[in-house]
């Protein structure tokens, strides 16, 4: 798609300062094939060939605003990256931004005739459960984590995307379900977890985790410009490691707590308002959630340069 048009790609991003936005934006700015880059976000960003639109995706009338900006000239690829990665400013806001924001963005994309939409997701949407198979394929049910608003919202976004794919076959849609993205610069719940001086874990459990290096995640997102392939893909590093190894590789130490104590402590801290981490998230420290990256490897010829091990080690620094 991009090749024949030479340097005339028009690309749009929502959330240029989000987790993936921050990872991707510098590369997009340096990309010679891009003729114009539209950005939509609350905080200003600047660069050559960049047009920023200050929008708030949680506003009810944002859709027409987006549509107007997107339909000025046909957009080839829209990266919808406006998802929370920092500490939440409240569950209601998170829900508005992620679920309703996606709703607005997708609707505007359809009306403005965007050719292809790319949305990052997470392998956490499968949920960490006792009943998980050895490897979770892309078709596995999205159980999510019912006790956690964060994961539940992402599952809801996934459902919207599935409906969108069904209702609008004319618009390309790529969903990348990333394993926790680790790297020296990226900032997300996983990197914050692994950057603690003592990382709480559950005594007697050491679930299997995967990770993907930020370079590989960026590489894959950029590759959409070469010729987008619709579909949903798990994006995982090559190897599987126990949580405690990732913690060690990240240069810190595990603090194993007996599970009942961990849950009780977390509940106490939450009700005291010190933390806002739902206890249900401890499932991810309890059960394995290993996604099968075969489809991305075969369909997209995606070969991550770094494995889970290197990704974990890159958090250190």
């Amino acid at each position: 798609m991009g090749q024949e048009r030479g340097s005339s790609l028009r690309v749009a991003i929502t959330g240029p300062t989000s987790e993936f936005g921050a990872v991707l934006l510098p590369k997009l700015l340096a990309e010679p094939r891009i003729e114009q880059l539209l950005t939509f976000g609350p905080r200003p960003v600047s660069g050559a060939r960049l047009v920023h639109h200050r929008v708030d995706l949680t506003r009810w009338d944002v859709e027409s605003e987006l549509e107007g900006a997107l339909s000025a000239a046909p957009v080839d690829v829209l990266y919808h990256l406006a998802f929370l990665h920092g500490r939440t400013r409240g569950a209601a806001f998170a829900h508005e931004l992620e679920v309703i924001g996606t709703l607005h963005t997708l609707a505007a994309a359809v009306r403005a005739g965007v050719r292809h939409v790319v949305v990052p997701s997470t392998t956490a949407v499968y949920g960490a459960r006792a009943g998980n198979p050895v490897l979770l394929g892309e078709d596995a049910p999205l159980h999510g984590c019912p006790g956690s608003r964060f994961v539940t919202d992402r599952v809801e976004v996934e459902r919207q995307l599935m409906a969108f794919r069904r209702d609008h076959p004319g618009v390309g849609l790529t969903v990348f379900r990333f394993a926790p993205v680790l790297g020296p610069t990226v900032d997300n719940p996983a990197t914050r977890y692994f950057r603690r001086p003592l990382v709480p874990t559950l005594l007697g459990f050491d679930p299997l985790w995967q990770a993907i290096h930020e370079e590989d995640a960026r590489e894959l997102l950029l590759r959409v410009l070469d010729g987008p392939v619709s579909g949903t893909f798990n994006v995982v590093g090559d190897d599987v490691l126990p949580l405690s190894s990732i913690i060690r590789l990240a240069g810190t130490r595990p603090l194993p707590l007996p599970p009942p104590l961990a849950r009780a402590t977390l509940r106490a801290l939450n009700s005291a308002g010190i933390t806002a981490t739902p206890g249900a998230l401890l499932d991810y420290l309890h059960y394995s959630w290993v996604a099968d990256g075969t489809r991305a490897r075969t369909t997209l010829a995606f070969r991550p340069r770094f494995g889970t091990r290197e990704a974990a080690a890159s958090v250190r620094s």
Binding site: P133, L203, G204, F205, P242
Partner: protein, 422 residues
Amino acid sequence: MGSRRVLGNDPFQRGAAERTPATSPASDVPEQPSAASPRGTGASTERNAGSAAKRPTPSRRPAARPRKSPPRAEPSPAPGPVPASGAPAVAAAPPPPAPPAPPPLEPGAPTLTWTPAEAPPRELDRAAEGTEAAVTPATASLFEVLREAPGVLAEAWSALEAALRAIRAGLGTAGGEQLDVYGRDARLSEAVAPLLDFLYSRWFRVEVEGASHVPAGGALLVANHAGALPLDGPMLHEALRRERPELPEARWLAEDQVFYAPLLGTLFNRLGAVRASPDSATRLLAEGRPVLIFPEGIQGIGKPFRDRYRLQRFGRGGFVKLALRTRRPILPVAIMGAEETLPLLGKLPGGLLGVPYLPVTPLGPLPLPAKWRIRIGEPIAVPPGATETDLSVVESLVDATRNTIEHMLRALLGARGGVFLG
């Protein structure tokens, strides 16, 4: 593999002659050349030869016990007459492995077989050599014990170290960087090997019959399940590793209650347990692995001691459906000894630890040194054309498997001299 079963490694010809028939399945014989020749096998042969040779002396017990060992070995050829179901071939031709086996009393030969043991016993070895021919069998056994003592102690020590390592892995702080997608940690398995070795060849003195029945290309080994902590999975796994090193490494399926038990579940997973589910089993079989299945599940390990060796319901026949779907044979396996190893005397509520119950056993998590025998029966072929939706076929295959295991268990129990002596 027959070659290392050779109890002729026992420097005492007497013991060797008596025991060989009991333990070396004749059906293994044809395997011998093929199994012994390929690369890599040499090492394991030697290693196992060592353990087999040491086997007759159970742990570091006073002389009194081993002294009994010759008489006790005699009844054991009796298992020969138990062709009950699957194992007639087993008893058929015991002698073949024997000829190369008993490397008689030439002073040099036994030393060779002793090499795997720790250094100190070697000198003792030679010292004993001269005398032994002259002394009475009973005194000879005493010598045997004394001579082995340092080696056994060293072994027990490294087993203890390995146990600590295992506990650390179970606690979930040890890490490990060489895991496959199922969660098995090759390096940890190596580190824990001394413990498994000790349990397998010293503590339980596991004897395996019919290992040659396991075909290449994947099979379902269906066994009875017992012991408050299910050690039968790792032991059967270890048995296949030793007896059939040429096969892809086996995996055992663990019920959720064990797989997600704190410490134990984590440790088992790192050693090769896979959560029991049709998709994991299918994946394992597609890799050509033997898959070890305990269809009784938690009912098997949760039954009180008075119900020992009473087979529970075989789940819902999932293993048969799996066999029908993957067209792989079912091998019935009877395991004797696991029941007495960790007898379940009672159950304490375990909600706080996230387990269905806390088992009460005589020595806590420490296993009793019951003698183990594992008999692997002949494959039960899957009828051609049958599908997993054919419930009557499923049911009859479940029954056939269950009955075969039952028969083999009865035969093993009938031939058993004593719980601890075997």
